[in-house]
C-alpha cells in the first residue's frame, strides 16, 4: 500500500515527476486520461495568470487584498483531479486553483477578492464550502460533512485544505482526531508553503514533518512533493480509496512554497531572502507539468502560448465584468442575515433609506 511505503518519520517523500519534468517513479505514474491531464494544466495556467493579473489589479487599486497562489498550483489541482464531482471541497483561503478545477467560476473567485459576498455563492451543483478565513476551523466542518456522507451511506468524500500555519491551531487537532475516531471519509491536504505570514515552518513546530502528525491520530500520513501534480494525484487517489472503503481519513502534506506574499498587505522581503524564492522558482509546478505533457505529445509550446494569451484575455474580460457588476446594494447587506428579515433589520434598513432620501451620503 502506498502510505506504508512512505514513512514521514524517515523523511520519505512521494515524488513521481521531478523538478526537470522527468518521471522518477514510473511504477507509480498514474493513468490519467488525456482530457483530465489537459484540464489540470489548463486550470494551473489559468490560476497562474489570474494570480499575476490580480496582483496587478490590486496595485492599480482595482482589487482589494489578494492572497496569491503562485507556486502552489500542483498542490491544489493534483488532488482535485483525483476526486469525483460529488466529493466535497472544504476551503481555507489559498485554494484558487482547486476552486476553479471544482467548478467555481473565475468570476465568482474574483468577485470574492473584489469584496463582494456573492463571490462565495457558487453554483448549486458545485460542492464547495465558502472560503474560510479563521485559521484551522474548516477541518471540523469537513469532518461533519464526512460524517453526514457516512451516515447517509453516500459514496463521497470531503477534501479539506489547510496551511502549515493552520496545523498549529487547536482546531486542527480537534478536527483530525474527530475524523479519525469515527473513520470518516475525509482527506486533509496541508499546503506546507513554508510560511505562516512571516513565521517560517521550523519556528512553528518541532516536528520534522507535518505528515507525521497523523501518527498521533492513528491514521496514515504522507509527505508529497507538492509541486508535483502527479504525486499529489496519486496520494489523494489512494486516500480516497481508503475513505470510500470506510478506513477513515488520511493526512497529506504537500511540500511546496509560497512564491508570492501572504497577501498583498504583506512584504515578504522583511523576513526571507530572495535566493530562497529563486531556489523554489526552479521547482515550478507548471514548468515541469508542461514538459511532461510535451513529452507525452499532448502539448506544444505553440499551444502553450495560445493558452496563456487566451487566459489573459479571459481574465481581463472577467475582471472587467466583475468591476461593472460587483457593487453591493443596501438590501443585499441585510437580507442574508436570516431566512426572513427580522423586524429589527427591516427598521434599520428603512431608517437608512430615509436618511439617504433626505440627501444622506453612502
Amino acid at each position: 500500500m502506498l502510505f506504508e511505503n512512505y514513512d514521514p518519520l524517515k523523511g520519505e517523500m512521494l515524488q513521481i515527476l521531478d523538478h526537470e519534468g522527468k518521471i522518477v517513479n514510473d511504477k507509480l505514474e498514474p493513468k490519467i486520461n488525456k482530457e483530465t491531464l489537459i484540464k489540470m494544466y489548463h486550470t494551473m495556467v489559468l490560476g497562474r495568470v489570474a494570480d499575476e493579473k490580480a496582483l496587478q489589479f490590486q496595485r492599480q487599486g482595482r482589487m482589494l487584498t489578494y492572497a496569491p497562489n503562485i507556486g502552489q498550483e500542483a498542490a491544489q489541482v493534483g488532488p482535485m483531479a483525483a476526486l469525483k464531482d460529488n466529493d466535497w471541497l472544504v476551503l481555507a483561503f489559498r485554494e484558487f486553483n482547486a476552486m476553479l478545477f471544482k467548478g467555481v467560476t473565475l468570476e465568482q473567485a474574483f468577485l470574492y477578492w473584489y469584496g463582494n459576498e456573492r463571490g462565495s455563492r457558487y453554483d448549486d451543483d458545485v460542492r464547495v464550502l465558502p472560503i474560510n478565513v479563521p485559521i484551522g476551523s474548516q477541518i471540523n466542518h469537513a469532518a461533519g460533512v464526512a460524517y453526514a456522507s457516512k451516515l447517509q451511506k453516500k459514496d463521497e468524500v470531503a477534501i479539506v485544505f489547510i496551511g502549515d500555519g493552520g496545523t498549529s491551531h487547536g482546531e486542527f487537532h480537534e478536527g483530525m482526531n474527530f475524523a479519525a475516531t469515527f473513520d470518516l471519509p475525509m482527506i486533509t491536504v496541508i499546503q506546507n508553503n513554508q510560511y505562516a505570514i512571516s513565521t517560517p515552518r521550523h519556528k512553528a513546530t518541532k516536528a520534522k514533518t507535518l505528515a507525521q502528525k497523523a501518527i498521533a491520530y492513528g491514521i496514515p500520513g504522507i509527505q508529497v512533493d507538492g509541486n508535483d501534480p502527479l504525486a499529489m494525484y496519486v496520494a489523494v487517489e489512494a486516500a480516497r480509496e481508503r475513505a470510500i472503503k470506510g478506513e477513515g481519513p488520511t493526512l497529506i502534506e504537500a511540500v511546496t512554497y509560497r512564491i508570492g506574499p501572504h497577501t498583498t498587505s504583506d512584504n515578504p522581503k522583511l523576513y526571507r531572502e530572495d535566493e530562497e524564492v529563486e531556489r523554489w522558482m526552479k521547482k515550478d509546478p507548471i514548468q515541469r507539468f508542461k514538459k511532461y505533457l510535451i513529452d507525452k505529445k499532448l502539448w506544444s509550446e505553440k499551444k502553450d502560448e495560445e493558452l496563456h494569451e487566451e487566459h489573459k484575455q479571459n481574465v481581463l474580460e472577467t475582471f472587467k465584468h466583475v468591476e461593472e457588476t460587483g457593487d453591493v446594494s443596501l438590501e443585499e447587506i441585510f437580507e442574508h442575515t436570516y431566512e426572513n428579515m427580522t423586524p429589527n433589520l427591516v427598521e434599520q434598513m428603512e431608517y437608512y433609506k430615509e436618511y439617504l432620501k433626505q440627501g444622506g451620503n453612502e
Binding site: L64, T65, Y112, Y114, G115, N116, E117, I131, V133, P134, I135, G136, S137, G165, G166, S168, H169, G170, E171, A196, I197, S198, T199, K203, A204, T205, S265, D266, L270, Y271, G326, D327, V328, L330, E332, I333, F334, T337, T342, N344, L345, Q348, M349, Y352, Y355, Q358, G360, N361, E362
Partner: protein
C-alpha cells in the same frame, strides 16, 4: 514635543515599559521578527531579544492561555490578537480564565496582562478583519476594556494598562493607526483607565463615541455649526466613567451615542440605561444611538452602507435637536 501617530504611541509605550520593567514580555503571531502585520511592535525584538519578544504559532488560545500562566508566575505579558475577529479562538481562555483568576483564587492570583487587538472597519479588509467586538469583552466581569482615539491617549493608556494589576483588553482603532499625528511626550506617563476624555465642552447635546469614530463626530460638528455639542471620548468602555456621562447629560439634556459595534445589546444600550437611571428627569429628548446595523460587517463593496460617516452623525444630531415631546 514630537508629533507621533497612534501606532507610534503604542510602540513607544511598549518599548519604554519593556525598558523599565524586565517582567514585561510581548508576543503573538508575527509580532517578533517582522514587528507585527501593522508594525506596531517593530524594533522590539531587536532591542529586547527573542526571549522577551517572540513570534508564536498560529494559536490564539495558546497565546492567551500561556499569558495567564506567565502572569501568575511573575511576568507581565502583553499579547497580540492579530485582528479582534481572530480573538475568538482565545475567547474561551479570556472568559473562563483571564477574567476569573482573581475571583477564583480569592485574590491569591491576579493577572497583570494586556491583550491587544486591532479592531474596527473602514479599511477595506476581508472577512473577520473589520469587527467591533466591544460588547463581547465589556460584558465580561473581571475584564477592563480600553480603546484610545488619539496618539497621546494610546501611549498613556497602554502604559496604564501594562501597570494595571488586572487584565486589560486593549482595542486599537486600526483605521486611524497612522491617520494623524499629535504631540506626544517622550517620557512615560499614564492616562487613567476608567476616565473619559472631554473632547469639547458644549451645552446643546452630549455626543459619546470612542476609537476611530471620535474624529468622525468632530468632523460632523462642522456640518451643524449651529449646534453647541459636548463631545465625550469614552476611552474606557469598562469600567465606564459614569460621572462624566451623567454630569454632561444633566447639563445638555440630549444625548447621542455613536459606535460601530452592532446595535442590539451593544454599549449604547448600556449607556442609555445608565442615563435613564441617573439623569432621566434632565432629558429634553429621547436618547438616541447611531450604531452598526445588526448584521455581519459586509465585505468592502457593501461596507460603505455600514460605515458611519460625519454626514450620518450630523443627520442624527439634527433629529435629536428637532425632538419634541
Amino acid at each position: 514635543m514630537p508629533n507621533k501617530t497612534i501606532l507610534q504611541g503604542i510602540n513607544e509605550a511598549l518599548d519604554q515599559s519593556m525598558e523599565k520593567d524586565k517582567t514585561v514580555v510581548v508576543y503573538g503571531e508575527d509580532v517578533g521578527y517582522e514587528g507585527g502585520v501593522f508594525r506596531t511592535t517593530a524594533g522590539l525584538q531587536k532591542k529586547y531579544g527573542e526571549e522577551r519578544v517572540f513570534d508564536t504559532p498560529i494559536a490564539e488560545a495558546a497565546i492567551v492561555g500561556s499569558a495567564v500562566g506567565m502572569a501568575v508566575n511573575g511576568l507581565k505579558p502583553v499579547v497580540e490578537m492579530q485582528f479582534s475577529g481572530f480573538s475568538l479562538p482565545a475567547y474561551n481562555q479570556i472568559v473562563t480564565h483571564v477574567a476569573r483568576f482573581r475571583n477564583r483564587s480569592r485574590g491569591k492570583y491576579h493577572l497583570p496582562m494586556v491583550i491587544r487587538m486591532p479592531y474596527g472597519g473602514g479599511v477595506k479588509a476581508l472577512e473577520h478583519h473589520s469587527e467591533s467586538l466591544e460588547t463581547l469583552y465589556a460584558h465580561i466581569p473581571g475584564l477592563k476594556l480600553v480603546i484610545p482615539s488619539t496618539p497621546y491617549d494610546a501611549k498613556g493608556l497602554m502604559i496604564a494598562a501594562i501597570n494595571d494589576p488586572d487584565p486589560v483588553i486593549f482595542m486599537e482603532p486600526k483605521r486611524i493607526y497612522r491617520a494623524f499625528k499629535q504631540e506626544v511626550p517622550d517620557e512615560m506617563y499614564e492616562v487613567p483607565i476608567g476616565k473619559a476624555r472631554m473632547v469639547r465642552k458644549g451645552n446643546d447635546i452630549t455626543i459619546i463615541a470612542w476609537g476611530a469614530l471620535v474624529r468622525e463626530v468632530e468632523k460632523a460638528m462642522e456640518l451643524v455649526p449651529n449646534v453647541d455639542a459636548e463631545i465625550i471620548d469614552l476611552r474606557t468602555i469598562s469600567p465606564i466613567d459614569q460621572d462624566t456621562i451623567i454630569n454632561s447629560v444633566k447639563r445638555t439634556g440630549r444625548v447621542l451615542i455613536v459606535h460601530e459595534a452592532v446595535r442590539s445589546f451593544g454599549p449604547a444600550a448600556e449607556i442609555i440605561s445608565l442615563i435613564n437611571e441617573k439623569a432621566f428627569v434632565y432629558l429634553e429628548a429621547a436618547p438616541r444611538r447611531l450604531t452598526g446595523f445588526d448584521i455581519t460587517v459586509p465585505l468592502p463593496k457593501g461596507e460603505p452602507h455600514f460605515i458611519i460617516d460625519p454626514e450620518q452623525i450630523a443627520y442624527e444630531v439634527k433629529n435629536i435637536m428637532a425632538f419634541e415631546a
